[in-house]
C-alpha cells in the first residue's frame, strides 16, 4: 500500500510539476493548499475535497454515496475522517481541503465512526448475500468486512426489519429495493447523466424510497449504468440475474461495436459462454458509461447464428455444406468471373483485419471494387482526405468547447457515451449548443436552428444569434452526423461545413469539423481505402458479389446481374444472407481478435472472449482460406503477419489506443464543392428512445432489445401507465 501510495504521490507530484510549468504560462494559477494526510504532507489544489486529496496519496476512503462522475451528495456518512481541531468526524467527500488541515484516516476515532455508520446501514439491509446478485462485487459486503463490527445491536424481534416493495423500471434493470442503502447514486445518475428526472426519492428516514413514484420505465439509453454504480444489490442486471458470481468468471477487455464511439468494455465469460458486458473506464472515450445496446444486446450472440456453411443447391434451396465444399464453390466462381464484374461489400461491424484481407484478395484479382455498405460523399474530397470523415477534435475536446453545433445527428442514440459527455459539459460549463436537424430531447437545452441545410447557409452568412455565439466562441465545435452527409446534397453539406469550420477555427490544432460516424467499422474501412457506398455497384451488372456482414439491405438482387453469384460471410444471417448462394459463417465481435477504428480515428483492439459457435470461423481466416483455394494465397498465416501488412497500409492501425490526428483540412477546403444550393433535409432517423434499441444486426436479433423497445414504445404511448411485466422480465 505504501509503495503504491508512493507511486500515486509521485504521479501527483509530476502532475503538480506540470501544472507548475503551466502556471508559469497562465497567470493567476490558484495557490496550492498544504494538507497533511496521516502525517504525510501534500500540496493540492484548493477546492478539492478531503477524499480527493486522500486519493492523491493513495489512501482510499470507504464510501457509498460519493462517485467520481456524479455530484457530491454526502449522505451515506461512510467517508467520515478525523480532522484535527474538529470535535466531530468530518464527511470527507463533501469537505473541501483547507490550508494546514491535518487529516487522520485511520485513527481509532475514525474506525469507531465507520463502525457506527456500518451498523446503521446493516440494520436496514437484509442479510441475503447468498441469493443476491451483487454478492462478491458488493461495496457494502466488502466494507462491512473491513470496517464493520462483528456484531450489531438490532433486535429484529422488537424492531422488525425494514422492507421495501420492488419497483418495475423496465426489462433491463432488476430492482430489489429492500437492499437499497439510499446512497442516491442512481438518482443522481438519472438526473445528471441520463436526464431522466422522474427518478428521485420519496419519504424520509427509514421510509425513504428510491423510484419514480408512479411506476414507469426507466426511459434512458444509458439506464444499464445504474446497475454498475449501485454499491449494493438493489439494482442488478436482469439479463445476468442468478447466472454467475464474479470470482467464477473470466474477464476480457475489449471494444464495443454497437456505435462508432468505440466504447471500452469488459466481457465477462465463463465456460466459453459470454455472460455480460460492463464498461471499462477510458476517459478519452466513454468515461465510465456504455449504452444499453452495448450492454444488453449480447443475448443475440447466442441465437440466430450461422453455424455451418451453406451452399445453394440445384433446387434453389440453401443446404448445409462442409467448409471444403463452400470454399471450393466460392473460389471457382471467383476465378471464372472477370475482374470488373466482381465486387465486395462490407457491413458496418467488420473489423479492419477482415477488410484488409478482403481488399488484398480482390486486388490480387485485379479488382478495386471493394466498398462499404454505409454511404459517404465522394465529391468535396469525400473520403480521400482523412479530416473529412473523422471526429478530428477528439471526443474529450467537447468538454473544453464553448459552442457546439450539431448537424443532422442525434448523438443521444448514435453514440450515447458521447452524448453523456455533451450533457456533462452542458451542466458544468457555459457551453452553448445549436442543433440543425430534429427537435428532440437530447438531454440538454439547445438553440434549434432548423431542419434543413438552409440553416448552415444562414450560419455561414452570419445570420442569427447562434452565428454570433459561434464566431465569438474560443473553442467552437461542429459535430455532423454521417447520415446528414448521405444521398444527394450530402457532399454540399460537408463542403459548407468545411467552409464554416475554417471560418470559425481560431487555433491551428482545432479542426472544428467533426464527423460522427454511425458504424464501428466505417472509419477503418475508409482509412484503408474502401469506396464509400454501393452506388458504383449499380453502374455495371455485377456477377460475383462478396458480402461481409452487409445486412442493412442496401443491395438487392435487382441491382445485380440475373446470374449473379453472391457470397455472404457474417455471423447473423439477415438480409445479406437471404441473397446469398453461399454462406460462410463468421465470428461476432466477442469471438475474434479485431481492430476497430472509432469515429475519432483512434484504432483499438478487441479480444476474443469466447470461441465462435459451431463451424463458424474468424473472418479474416475465412478470407485467407478463400484466397488459398482460389489460387492467389495471401501472404499471411497469422494475425501478427496480417497486422504487419496493416501497418504497411496505414501505420496508425496498429498504434493502438492513440489518437491519430488528421491533416489536410486546408486541402479539403480547396476541394469543397458547395454545388447547387438546393436544400437538404437534415433530420436524423433516430429521434426517439424506441429508435435506439435495434439498429444493427446484433441488436435486431436480441430478444431483450426487442422487449425494451416495446417497453419504450409503451412508455411513450401511455406515460402514466405502469409498465407491463415483459417476457424477459418474467424470466428473470
Amino acid at each position: 500500500m505504501h509503495r503504491v501510495g508512493g507511486q500515486v504521490a509521485r504521479a501527483a507530484a509530476r502532475a503538480t510539476q506540470q501544472q507548475r510549468t503551466m502556471a508559469a504560462a497562465a497567470p493567476a494559477a490558484p495557490k496550492k493548499v498544504e494538507v497533511f494526510i496521516d502525517g504525510k504532507k501534500l500540496l493540492c489544489d484548493p477546492g478539492m475535497t478531503i477524499l480527493q486529496a486522500c486519493l492523491l496519496v493513495g489512501v482510499e476512503i470507504p464510501r457509498f454515496c460519493y462517485h467520481d462522475r456524479l455530484s457530491i451528495a454526502g449522505n451515506c456518512r461512510m467517508c467520515l475522517v478525523e480532522v484535527e481541531k474538529s470535535i466531530k468526524p468530518v464527511a470527507s467527500c463533501a469537505m473541501p481541503v483547507m490550508n494546514g488541515m491535518k487529516v487522520k484516516t485511520d485513527s481509532d476515532f475514525v474506525k469507531k465512526a465507520r463502525e457506527g455508520v456500518m451498523e446503521f446501514l446493516l440494520t436496514n439491509h437484509p442479510l441475503d448475500c447468498p441469493i443476491c446478485d451483487q454478492g462478491g462485487e458488493c461495496d457494502l459486503q466488502d466494507q462491512a468486512m473491513t470496517h464493520g463490527s462483528d456484531r450489531g445491536r438490532l433486535q429484529s424481534r422488537y424492531d422488525g426489519k425494514r422492507a421495501v416493495e420492488d419497483k418495475n423500471i423496465g426489462p433491463l434493470v432488476k430492482t430489489v429495493m429492500t437492499r437499497c442503502i439510499q446512497c442516491t447514486r442512481c438518482v443522481r445518475f438519472a438526473n445528471e447523466v441520463a436526464d431522466f428526472p422522474d427518478f428521485g426519492t420519496t419519504g424520509r428516514g427509514s421510509d425513504m424510497q428510491i423510484g419514480t413514484y408512479v411506476e414507469k420505465f426507466f426511459a434512458s439509453e444509458l439506464s444499464g449504468n445504474i446497475i454498475d454504480i449501485c454499491p449494493v444489490g438493489a439494482l442488478t442486471n436482469k439479463q445476468y440475474a442468478f447466472t454467475a458470481r464474479p470470482w467464477e468468471t473470466r474477464k476480457t477487455e475489449s471494444v464495443d461495436v454497437m456505435d462508432a464511439a468505440g466504447s471500452n468494455i469488459v466481457l465477462t465469460h465463463r465456460t466459453g459462454e459470454l455472460l455480460r458486458v460492463i464498461p471499462k473506464i477510458n476517459d478519452d472515450i466513454n468515461e465510465e458509461w456504455i449504452g444499453d445496446q452495448s450492454r444488453f444486446a449480447i443475448d443475440a450472440l447466442k441465437v440466430q447464428r450461422l453455424l455451418t456453411p451453406f451452399v445453394r443447391g440445384a433446387d434453389g434451396q440453401l443446404k448445409p455444406a462442409s467448409w471444403e465444399e463452400a470454399l471450393f464453390t466460392v473460389a471457382a466462381k471467383m476465378r471464372e468471373t472477370p475482374a470488373e464484374l466482381k465486387a465486395a461489400v462490407v457491413g458496418g461491424l467488420t473489423d479492419v483485419e477482415t477488410m484488409v484481407a478482403l481488399k488484398d484478395l480482390f486486388n490480387r484479382f485485379n479488382s478495386e471494387n471493394v466498398m462499404t455498405e454505409e454511404e459517404y460523399p465522394e465529391t468535396s474530397g469525400g473520403a480521400d482526405l482523412r479530416s473529412n470523415y473523422t471526429f478530428n477534435d477528439t471526443i474529450s475536446a467537447v468538454e473544453s468547447s464553448d459552442a457546439l453545433l450539431l448537424v443532422g445527428t442525434n448523438p443521444r442514440f448514435e453514440a450515447p457515451t458521447i452524448n453523456a459527455r455533451i450533457r456533462k459539459t452542458f451542466l458544468y460549463s457555459d457551453i452553448q449548443i445549436g442543433v440543425i436537424g430534429a427537435q428532440t430531447n437530447l438531454t440538454y437545452e439547445y438553440d434549434y436552428l432548423g431542419s434543413t441545410s438552409k440553416a448552415i447557409d444562414d450560419l455561414l452568412a452570419g445570420k442569427g444569434d447562434f452565428a454570433k455565439t459561434l464566431s465569438n466562441a474560443k473553442n467552437p465545435m461542429i459535430i455532423v452526423g454521417a447520415e446528414a452527409l448521405q444521398g444527394e446534397g450530402g457532399a454540399a453539406v460537408l463542403a459548407k461545413l468545411q467552409q464554416l469550420s475554417t471560418k470559425l477555427s481560431k487555433d491551428k490544432n482545432s479542426k472544428v469539423l467533426n464527423v460522427l460516424q454511425r458504424w464501428a467499422g466505417m472509419t477503418g474501412a475508409l482509412d484503408i481505402g474502401y469506396k464509400a457506398g454501393t452506388a458504383s455497384l449499380r453502374k455495371k451488372p455485377i456477377k460475383f458479389l462478396y458480402l461481409v456482414g452487409a445486412d442493412e439491405g442496401k443491395i438487392s438482387r435487382s441491382n445485380l446481374d440475373p446470374q449473379a453469384f453472391v457470397v455472404y460471410q457474417g455471423h447473423h444471417g439477415e438480409k445479406g444472407a437471404e441473397l446469398a448462394d453461399v454462406i460462410l459463417p463468421g465470428a461476432a465481435y466477442t469471438e475474434k481478435e479485431g481492430t476497430y477504428v472509432n469515429t475519432e480515428g483512434r484504432s483499438q483492439r478487441g479480444y476474443p472472449a469466447v470461441s465462435p459457435p459451431g463451424e463458424a470461423r474468424t473472418d479474416w481466416k475465412i478470407v485467407r482460406a478463400v484466397s488459398e483455394v482460389a489460387g492467389k494465397t495471401l501472404p499471411y498465416n497469422e494475425i501478427k503477419e496480417l497486422r504487419a501488412r496493416m501497418s504497411e497500409i496505414a501505420p496508425h492501425l496498429v498504434r493502438y489506443r492513440d489518437f491519430e490526428p488528421s491533416s489536410f483540412s486546408k486541402q479539403a477546403l480547396e476541394l469543397a464543392q458547395t454545388g447547387s444550393s438546393s436544400e437538404k433535409e437534415l433530420v436524423p432517423k433516430q429521434r426517439d428512445l424506441p429508435d435506439y434499441y435495434q439498429t444493427n444486426v446484433i441488436s435486431r436479433n436480441s430478444q431483450l432489445m426487442a422487449a425494451t423497445k416495446r417497453a419504450a414504445l409503451d412508455a411513450r404511448e401511455n406515460p402514466y401507465m405502469e409498465p407491463a411485466v415483459t417476457q424477459a422480465a418474467a424470466r428473470a
Binding site: 489544489d45 477546492g47 457509498f64 455530484s71 458488493c138 466488502d142 454498475d228 474477464k251 451542466l427 493502438y656
Partner: protein, 175 residues
C-alpha cells in the same frame, strides 16, 4: 528384529550400515555382529559445485515446453481496469499478463468447461510490480508481447457547493 535394530540405530541419531562379520556378502542379522560405519565413509565426497551460466534462452530450449506454448503465443501486458461495478481501485495497481484466449468447450463427461490451454489461468495468478518485470517474464518464456499502458486516473476537483450554485446549470433542486 532387524527392523527394530535399524530403527534404534537411526533413533540414536547416527546413520549406520550394518556390515556382516561372517560371510563376506551376507548382511548382518544381529545387532552385536554389526560393525559401525560412519556415513561419511560410505558417501563419496561431493564434488564442488561449478556454477554453469545458463541463459534463459537455453533453459527454454531444454525445458520441454511444447512449441505451441512458446513461439506462437502472444501475451498482453496490462494493468487491469477498475471494476465498473465497484468503488475501490486496488486491483488496478499491479501489472498482469494474459495470453491469447483459446477455445474452451463443454466436457461431455461432467459438463464442465475444458480447455487444451495449460496457460489459460496465468492472468489470475501472476502479478508483476512493474511493466519491465512482466516483459522480462515474457522474454524468458519466449512469448511475443504487447504492452498496454493503463488509462491514467483523473482526479478533477469537485465541491459540494456546486449543488447550490445559484447561476450554474449544476444546481440541484429538491430530489
Amino acid at each position: 528384529m532387524l527392523r527394530t535394530s535399524i530403527l534404534r540405530a537411526i533413533q540414536a541419531g547416527k546413520c549406520v550400515r550394518m556390515a556382516s562379520s561372517g560371510g563376506k556378502d551376507l548382511p548382518a542379522t544381529r545387532y552385536h555382529e554389526a560393525k559401525r560405519v560412519e556415513v561419511d565413509e560410505i558417501l563419496e565426497k561431493t564434488p564442488e559445485k561449478t556454477p554453469v551460466k545458463v541463459s534463459a534462452d537455453e533453459t527454454m530450449d531444454i525445458s520441454g515446453v511444447p512449441l505451441e506454448h512458446i513461439e506462437t503465443r502472444t501475451a498482453r501486458i496490462f494493468k487491469p481496469a477498475k471494476e465498473a461495478t465497484q468503488t475501490p481501485w486496488g486491483n488496478t495497481l499491479a501489472w498482469r499478463i494474459e495470453l491469447d484466449n483459446r477455445q474452451r468447450w463443454e466436457n461431455p463427461l461432467m459438463g464442465w468447461s475444458s480447455t487444451g490451454d495449460p496457460l489459460s489461468n496465468i492472468s489470475m495468478n501472476m502479478k508483476f510490480a512493474s511493466k519491465e518485470d512482466a516483459v522480462a517474464f515474457c522474454e524468458k518464456n519466449r512469448w511475443d508481447y504487447d504492452i498496454e499502458e493503463p488509462n491514467a486516473r483523473q482526479i478533477k476537483p469537485k465541491n459540494y457547493g456546486q449543488n447550490y450554485s445559484w447561476n450554474k446549470r449544476s444546481r440541484i433542486g429538491t430530489k
